[in-house]
Symmetry: C2
Subunit: 570 residues, 2 copies
Amino acid sequence: MKYSRLFGRTIKDVPSDATIASHKFLIQAGFIRESVAGRYFFLPLGQKVMDKFVKIVEEEMAAIDAQKMLIPILQPIELWQETNRDNSGGYELMTVQDRRGAMFTPGGTGEEMFTDVVRKFQISYKDLPIHIYQFGYKFRDELRSKGGLMRTREFLMKDSYIFTENNEQFEIEYKRIVDAYVKIFKRVGLDVEVVPADNGYFGGEYCHEFIIESETGEGKYFVSEDGKYIAHEDIALFKREDVNPEDKVVEFEIFEQPDHVRTMDDNVEFYKLPASRFLKNVVYKNRITGKLIIATIRGDLQVNKNKLEHVLDMVGLLEDATDEDLASFGSKSGYVHSWGYKDYDHVMFVGDTSLRTVKNFIGGQKEETTDSRNVNYGRDFEHEITADIALAEDGFLSEDGSKLIGKKGIEVGNTFNLGYFYSDKMKGARFTDNNGKDEKYYMGSFGIGMARTIATAIEVHNDENGMIWPESIAPYTVSLISIAKSESDESYIKAQELYSSLTEKGIEVLWDDRIETRPGEKFADADLIGIPHRVIVSSRSLENGGFEYKKRSESDSKVISEAEVMELLR
Amino acid sequence: MKYSRLFGRTIKDVPSDATIASHKFLIQAGFIRESVAGRYFFLPLGQKVMDKFVKIVEEEMAAIDAQKMLIPILQPIELWQETNRDNSGGYELMTVQDRRGAMFTPGGTGEEMFTDVVRKFQISYKDLPIHIYQFGYKFRDELRSKGGLMRTREFLMKDSYIFTENNEQFEIEYKRIVDAYVKIFKRVGLDVEVVPADNGYFGGEYCHEFIIESETGEGKYFVSEDGKYIAHEDIALFKREDVNPEDKVVEFEIFEQPDHVRTMDDNVEFYKLPASRFLKNVVYKNRITGKLIIATIRGDLQVNKNKLEHVLDMVGLLEDATDEDLASFGSKSGYVHSWGYKDYDHVMFVGDTSLRTVKNFIGGQKEETTDSRNVNYGRDFEHEITADIALAEDGFLSEDGSKLIGKKGIEVGNTFNLGYFYSDKMKGARFTDNNGKDEKYYMGSFGIGMARTIATAIEVHNDENGMIWPESIAPYTVSLISIAKSESDESYIKAQELYSSLTEKGIEVLWDDRIETRPGEKFADADLIGIPHRVIVSSRSLENGGFEYKKRSESDSKVISEAEVMELLR
């Protein structure tokens, strides 16, 4: 490809919100442009990267017997009603209605559609496992899109679905897919961590996120120092050590407290005691039922909303309670009590297991000028539910006692053990077992964010001058630059010859054939675009016996002959 | 691929509306399944065909310097407002609103989006022509979908857009694209006719449809016997010969007429004169403005609504007038007059040029029991507009006097000369010319219906037993069938060896490895699926010295050795 013919060349100005490398460089170098917020055009350079990545994924999918197919983009809403993932279930789906009144949602995920196509066929246990996948466009009605290709409202996903006989068969397939995913990311220069995570909206038994460690990532996860434990922040377990095991349990008391002691910081300052000695209450509301949940936890810990939602079977439904909500049971911000409210049917309590690690808590009075002390969980109050609802933090201990290290990363893929979540709900999602009986499928779903992975490759591989593409997904293999004043210069002619030789050998070359552009600008453009191999043809290089060659990832260049160039790039 | 592992096997039952070969066979053979009406799953076999066709199109596009890219599926409605192709312009767009209130339409065509991305760049005349394209999913809110992949509500299209300096540069590019399209269809076994057609909704100067002649096609076009003229029915020109040149023009009269003479058939029977001697009036309504149009035409001809819309600059806006519409100017069905109605501002007349070919017409009175005769156009009445608004018919003469032959066909592609239609309307759709001045792009758009082309290949290549895939897009090259009672049979083992040898050579094989299925059923399945080469391994074939080989398109088989198989398929 001659650069002078390329649609989508480099630009100087970057959008002001482009703060991370991939966002900035992909736009600047002419790989992508924004349509409207969170929706991108893939320009020819970006499309070439995508096509190469698609091919890699196809190869690895074929290697584990996955079969490529395609579902429609507009999914009938009736399928989502079957699984209660439509608006009535509290989910906000974008919808579109056709002129006949049929309602659709532009697919955010494909579980319902893939289950629907499978149930159209008579499947026997001998046909299982089935692994089918697609490259499908996904639509997410994100409130905020950001980071260029990192969080968009429309994106290409490789999504796989497996239908198996039972948990044993499932586990074998699951492992094959996890291994294939690790390989795929490796092939595009990414070392991935397979992190147990929250299965949330998708239901089922467990899931893993495939995370590339990066400071620009939105995901947080923990790894234990001994390397034995890894988990996403949403589900990370940790050991709750006893706070004051030596203390004696003493009698419960109510006492006067100045009105200004309201927050945890006030408590710590006023009582000269660590936050862990106080009770903390956080109130949430189920946005469908209106039920209010008071989560009680040790003062030094934070409530993990994800864990709480799972404990309550209210996945995706909790939101922060408002002042009005607190007033509905006679309370207000800063004065929610850890017990009582028996008269209010719409209020319930959940306690974190950390409540058992403290003797003689301070806290727990509805009145503004009194407080209580020597409060002991189990003796003075106890919740209907006690469970792990706390957020792990950097430095906490794993359950084995090894220190947890918090890391940030980018989620490039995920794998879900869906269990019977979908086959339970969708009528006819059954196969015939070896006794001729109808059985539900044990299912899984698996995704790779195609554009986000490409952007992540750039987050990991870049320098201040631009991108450094891994060879496997570079839009071109060679960046050829001719420094010539006219098309009849020897350097232009030699460049043309090299371009032809390389192209004939199937090596993809982007030749910067521009005459009127300064050499410095051409070098800067080449650095920005980040093609792995650079070859310069100039009168100087020809005087020195050939072509100036340099890798994008290295700073030293050398002059080599055409034969050596061909050898190097073979 | 082992057939026993394939997802999407043959089925016996066909949907009752599957009347054409491609619809019936693609479903029966397990290439596609319907999601809801007009929206299809592509199963693995269908996907393989699509992938191969995509590759062919990519190759031919690259050969004419077209650059592949991708636009978002959800297009901001603001762009469609710029070109007046949104609902306010009378077009019914499906829309979807996100939670922030932004409105989108799932793209039915990409002119606005591609123009929008191009105008984001500073383009000079030196960068032109630009030819960019995508494989994009298109959404059409069809009232009726039918014919399987022939008319669907969601489909993959290869759509190209060119941006040129002027008409001359445009014509060169247009011709290159037309030639590439002819080549593409040739490569999938289709002889295409390039038929001038109606540019309708897309605007611009002219367009061509790429039509494959087929009895199952919905498109009608005409070819003249001398081969010099070809045109789509929507725009086909024809010669209007004088009906009664020898007659003398005589005096206009009003006379009594029985009330039962209402239709053209009544006229012909009652007056014993050919339909061409009568005046015919057809009334349409502009569905946006409410304007009523009385189209007057010679009694033996039909009004061509497409031509009429272009004459009136009301493309896509005319619909049949209702009884209520006729009453609005004091008329009713069967009694619309060819002149008068001066008191009604919302009524206008358009006459076909055929009105000049008849002397002494009969017809034209508002009263139920009178009629007029010796009506002469130009003398007794004349319309504000006289133009070609008639439909060509089989047997009519071309303007050169050669007989027109009507043909039916399937439109698999189209090319549009858009002229300045979009760059006129979209602000900033400008390049810098060689004087540094801003100039509008001269544009074109070009499409290939990917799924429809695949289905058309089957309409053309099939027999009563199933599909006969052209080798270029066959899902597999070889259909290997082992006839064995167990996996330890020699025939099974030999088949396995051949499967490995072929696969290693990069030849794609679908091996029907089923043990429990009867040979007859396996042969029937192979015929239905239609893979071009068939190899059977049975104890009998082995006794005869090898493998039974047959082409899908031929009926004779022969037994050949493994070496011969390899040679044949090399």
